[in-house]
Structures are given as C-alpha cells and as structure tokens.
C-alpha cells in the first residue's frame, strides 16, 4: 500500500484531538476508520458528540474495540487499502498515571506494540504516533529540542510515551515502516478533554466555583490550539520522513495564571483561585522548539492564545 492512500485508521479517533483530526481528514477526501474503546476516563457521551458529524459521512466508519485485542485490529485492517494509521489511542493524564502505572504501561506501551505489529502484518506502511511533551521531564530552561536528552521522565505517563517512541524506532528498523512521533504540547480548543486545565478552569468559573491552581501558578505551558496541531498531524500523515520525532507546539509559553486571566477576560467572570500544593508528576514548564517540524513539514501554528481561547469559550457556551 502507498502511504498516501485514501484510507486511514485513526485509533482513539473519538477523543478530543482524534475527532478533530477525523473531521479534517474527511474534508481532505480521505476515507476514515475510527477505532476507539470509549475508555470511561471521561464520559462516552462526549466522545459520541465529538464524532456525531463525522459519522454522518459515508466515508467514516466507527469500530468499538481495544487496541490490545489483536483480533480487533486484524478485523479492522482486513478491509484493506489502509495507507496509514494515526495512533492516538492511549490512556491520557499525568496525575492518574501515578495511581495506575501498570495499567498505563499496558494500554500505552503494549497497546502501541499491538498497533505496530498489526500494521506490519497488514502491510500498512506509515504511522503517525501521538507522543507527548512530557517526555522531556523537568526542565528549567527551554525551548525543548527533539535532540535533547529524554532519560528522566517524571511520571509513568511520560515514561510510557517515551517507551512507545523507542518501540516505534525498532519497528522502523526491523520492518521499514515509516513512523513520525509527534510530541504534542498541551493541546486545547473545542472538544477539549474535561480533565485538562483550560476546560476545567472555564467550567468551574462558569459554575461560580473556585479554580484550583497548583503550585504558585507560575508553571508555564506551550499551549497548542487543536486545529494548528491537527494541521501538523495531517502534514506528518501526508509526508513520511523515515523515522522521525517532531515537536508540535505553538513555540511560545504562557503561565497557568495568565491563562486564568485570559479566561476571565473572555468569559467576563472574575475567578476565585484556590491555591493547592504542586502535584507530583507535573512538570513546571513545557516549551517547544518547533523549527524541525517547520522545516521538515512546513508546520506553522497560527492561532494566538487569546483567539484560541475565544473559540474554545464559544464552543463551551454552545454545548451548555
């Protein structure tokens, strides 16, 4: 199969990033199969809503199933014609990974190995894998480059994502499939997962509840607007680069407290902040150097944080 073939499998395609990607790929005339287990990490109804529009399109199919079940993958891929897999399925969340590290390792690491194994068996030549900025660990300086050392993850979640990158490389070496690992920096926007900061803050503010801020609010994130990220993933999908690891961030940082201030301005509500101690596993900063993705793929995030938060807030209001 040619990596540019129309048919693409998106694992985790009912999630926040996955469903946004599916909408875009359908608009690009692709033919999509979504594999999602509807893990109860957050309510299934949210994921169903994410995919509602996509599933009206005859070029989109949904399979409910677990990536760790080889029969499921075999069945999905038996349809043939898949040019690529975008592998986004996995357990998310840094803090919950501290509670269930073995489960995270099983779903994320073994699950990724299962996806890669099935890809090789079915002759799917190209994979885009969702890695994470958390692999960089605790760093005081930035921006982070893909060539920086990543031997010291500080959460099981981060460790599983790094392990997946390493397994991916071994598959590239042994079987020649092309794999791009996208290190994603804090995605936000419409359909954002309910446990992620911007959404949690906004919902609590709208409900008149205090906003929990961990540490002193000075921790900074490279917040990436989901449509910018999806544009990068589509580029990674369209353009195999052998084996490569690329940062997908916005290339600038914003403190958590500044985000609260932006939300206050956007929502017209002043936030009551509840200060909580810093959480184990949370890194104090993420900051992407995006020059490699820019050069290799023409990746160019364009959405300023205030604009992105405006779009997000509008989505949140519309769904309430």
């Amino acid at each position: 199969m040619n990596p540019g073939s129309a048919r693409v499998l998106v694992t985790g395609g009912a999630g926040f990033i996955g469903s946004t990607l599916v909408d875009r790929l359908l608009a690009d005339c692709r033919d999509i199969t979504v594999l999602d287990s509807f893990d109860p990490y957050y309510p299934e109804v949210e994921k169903q809503a994410n995919l509602y529009a996509a599933l009206q399109n005859p070029r989109c199919r949904l399979h409910r199933g677990d990536i760790r079940d080889p029969k499921v993958l075999e069945q999905v891929l038996s349809r043939g014609g898949f040019g690529a897999i975008v592998h986004l399925a996995g357990l998310a969340g840094v803090r919950p990974s501290l509670e269930r590290p073995a489960h995270y390792a099983d779903v994320n690491v073994r699950g990724t190995a299962c996806v890669l194994e099935a890809a090789v068996r079915a002759g799917v030549p190209h994979i885009v894998f969702a890695s994470s900025s958390s692999v960089y660990g605790e760093r005081s300086e930035g921006p982070f480059r893909e060539t920086d050392p990543v031997e010291r993850p500080i959460s099981p979640y981060a460790a599983t994502k790094r392990a997946c990158e390493l397994i991916a490389h071994s598959f590239h070496y042994a079987h020649g499939i092309t794999i791009t690992c996208a290190r994603i920096f804090t995605a936000y926007g419409p359909r954002q997962r309910p446990d992620l900061a911007i959404r949690r803050f906004a919902e609590r503010m709208l409900a008149g509840k205090p906003v929990p801020v961990f540490g002193d609010g000075s921790s900074v994130r490279d917040f990436t607007y989901v449509h910018d990220l999806v544009d990068g993933l589509v580029r990674a999908l369209n353009q195999p680069l052998g084996f490569s690891i690329l940062n997908f961030g916005a290339g600038r940082t914003c403190s958590v407290l500044e985000v609260v201030r932006l939300l206050e301005k956007t929502l017209g509500i002043s936030a009551q902040i509840e200060w909580l101690p810093r959480q184990i596993g949370d890194v104090s900063r993420t900051f992407a150097d995006i020059s490699a993705a820019r050069q290799a793929l023409g990746y160019a995030p364009k959405t300023p944080l205030d604009v992105g938060i405006g779009h997000f807030a509008q989505w949140l209001k519309e769904r309430q």
Binding site: N2, G4, A6, L26, A27, C29, Q56, N238, G310, H311
Partner: protein, 315 residues
C-alpha cells in the same frame, strides 16, 4: 467575543460547487463559521449534504447585489469560487458568461470592500496563460487568453490586483491548474477530462480523446487546491498576488487514460478525434511563487487522487 466570531466567519461563493464544497468542508473542519452563496446553476445540493446543518446557506447569484451584500456582511474572508466554469460554454455564450464571471466578480469585490471584508481569495485559472512557448508557466509570463472564459478569469484577477492597489482590499488570485476529485460532475456536457474518462471506463464506453493524446496537463487534486486557499487566506505576503496552484507534475492524456484504465480494470481503447480549436498543447505550473508566498506543496499524487475520484464515482 464578537471580534473572535467575525474573525472566523468565511463566505464561500459557489460553495455548492465542486471546489467550493470541498473548501466549505475544510473550513468547517478547521472550526470556521461558514456562509455559502450559491444559485445552484452548476452547484449541487448533494455536495453540501454533510455541511448543510452547519452552514448558513444563501441561495442567490453573485450578480444579485442584495444577495452579495447579505452574504459578505460580517465576514472576515471571502473565497470567491462562483463562476460559469467552462471554456466551451464561454465560447457558446460569451455575453452571458461574461456577466457572471466578470461583472459578478467585480460586484463581489466591490461589496467586500464596502462591507469591510479583510481578504478575498479568487479562483483564477491557468487558462489565462494560453499557449506559452516555454514550460513551466510562471506567473510573470504575459497572459494570452484563448477563450472568453480565460479572458474573463484573467479580468477577474486584474480586478483583484486593482482592488488591492486602489482600495487596500487584500486579494489573492489563485490560478488553478486542472483541479480534479470527488464531486466533479461527470455528466455535464462540458465535463472535465478526468471524470469523463472515469465514467467511460466504469460504463465500458470508449472515451474520446481530442488529438493524439500527447498533450499534457498539470493535474491538481482538489484537497491540494483547498489547502492552497486556506494558506492564501492568511499568508501575510500574498496580498495583491497572482499565484499558480497545481500538482507540480504533468501527465499526457494518454498516460492519464492508461492509469484510469488500470485502476478501473476496464479493457477499452480511446477513440481519437480531431484536436479541438483553442485547446492548449502543454501545461505545467511553476510552483516557486506558491512555495515562497504560501508555503504550498502538493500532497496528493496523481495516482492516489485518481483512486479517490474513482472510488467516489463508483459509490
């Protein structure tokens, strides 16, 4: 919130048409609010099947000032795709096609200027080049239109440039090279070559090739043309420019027919007929300016684009 809302509102004229409807789908996927102005003279309801619940649809012509004003109001960007998109039809009806393709375009530009639209991206055409002596076709070459359609599209892009220079309206004219893909109408009397060949192969009817079939074209898959529009809507240095949008490689009609025959499994020979007057012999775009000003690079190879198109016509 008002500012953010208008910043992402886009109008697509001809949004029910072939390229327009793909653009609508992409804009929706990118999170834009989308308005469509279409009179369904060549656009089709079925092209908007998926998009319809999410868009604001205004049924009207680009020649109707009131409809155009309603459509542009509050939009940040206008993608002007509406046209009578046919060379032979323009030869048959030069006056009527001029009214839509030139007067209609002028009306869209003038209304956009008055309603505070930031940028207009215009669907221009590679036919403006005519038969150039050298390939690839570079935007700096003089235009030598060979048909009323080519002249009308060329007039539209010159109006775009003037509106930028005289009134500061940001305009970008994209010269499309043989765009193809799903939703391109194979039934029309003026159907483009790719849907015509595919339909013929699927039905087992030998297609006609005008001339020896060694004439070449630069074929662009529709999602690449859409990507160019998205890039043109925001590239800072593109205002006032005319930019080629193409696949960046050329294929002869004989090669094209052979590829479609293989992919459909048809066992047919084409019928060669006399070359048509006014047909361009060879076409290949330079993509230097598109790369430089837009960061554009075609992503879909011809064979893969053909596979997607064949699949859609089979369904």
């Amino acid at each position: 919130m008002k500012r953010a809302a208008s910043e992402r509102r886009a109008l697509v004229t001809g949004g029910a048409g072939f390229i327009g409807s793909h653009l609508v789908d992409r804009l929706l996927a990118d999170g834009h609010e989308v308005r469509v102005l279409d009179d369904f003279s060549s656009g089709r309801e079925s092209n908007l099947e998926n998009a319809k619940p999410k868009i604001e649809l205004i049924r009207g012509s680009i020649c109707d000032g009131e409809a155009v004003a309603r459509a542009t109001e509050g939009c940040d960007i206008v993608f002007h795709e509406a046209a009578v998109p046919s060379v032979p039809r323009s030869v048959a009806e030069p006056v009527r096609t001029n009214a839509v393709n030139v007067d209609g375009t002028l009306l869209v530009l003038e209304t956009a200027r008055q309603t505070g639209v930031r940028r207009v991206v215009f669907a221009a055409s590679s036919s403006a080049y005519g038969n150039t002596e050298t390939l690839p076709k570079v935007e700096s070459m003089p235009a030598t239109p060979l048909s009323p359609y080519a002249l009308q599209k060329y007039a539209g892009e010159v109006y775009c440039r003037l509106y930028h220079e005289l009134y500061g309206l940001e305009t970008v004219a994209l010269r499309y090279f043989n765009v193809f893909g799903p939703r391109q109408n194979p039934e029309s009397e003026y159907a483009a070559v790719i849907p015509r060949f595919i339909r013929a192969c699927l039905r087992g009817e030998p297609p006609r090739i005008y001339g020896d079939g060694e004439q070449t074209r630069d074929f662009t898959f529709v999602s690449d043309a859409v990507e160019a529009n998205i890039l043109a809507s925001r590239a800072p240095g593109a205002a006032g420019a005319v930019i080629n949008v193409a696949g960046g490689r050329r294929a002869s009609l004989n090669q094209l027919f052979a590829a479609i025959r293989t992919q459909t499994g048809a066992k047919l020979e084409a019928i060669h007929e006399e070359a048509r007057v006014g047909d361009v012999r060879h076409s290949l775009a330079s993509l230097d300016r598109a790369r430089e000003l837009l960061g554009y690079a075609p992503a879909v190879e011809l064979k893969l684009g053909l596979a997607r198109t064949i699949e859609s016509l089979r369904a």
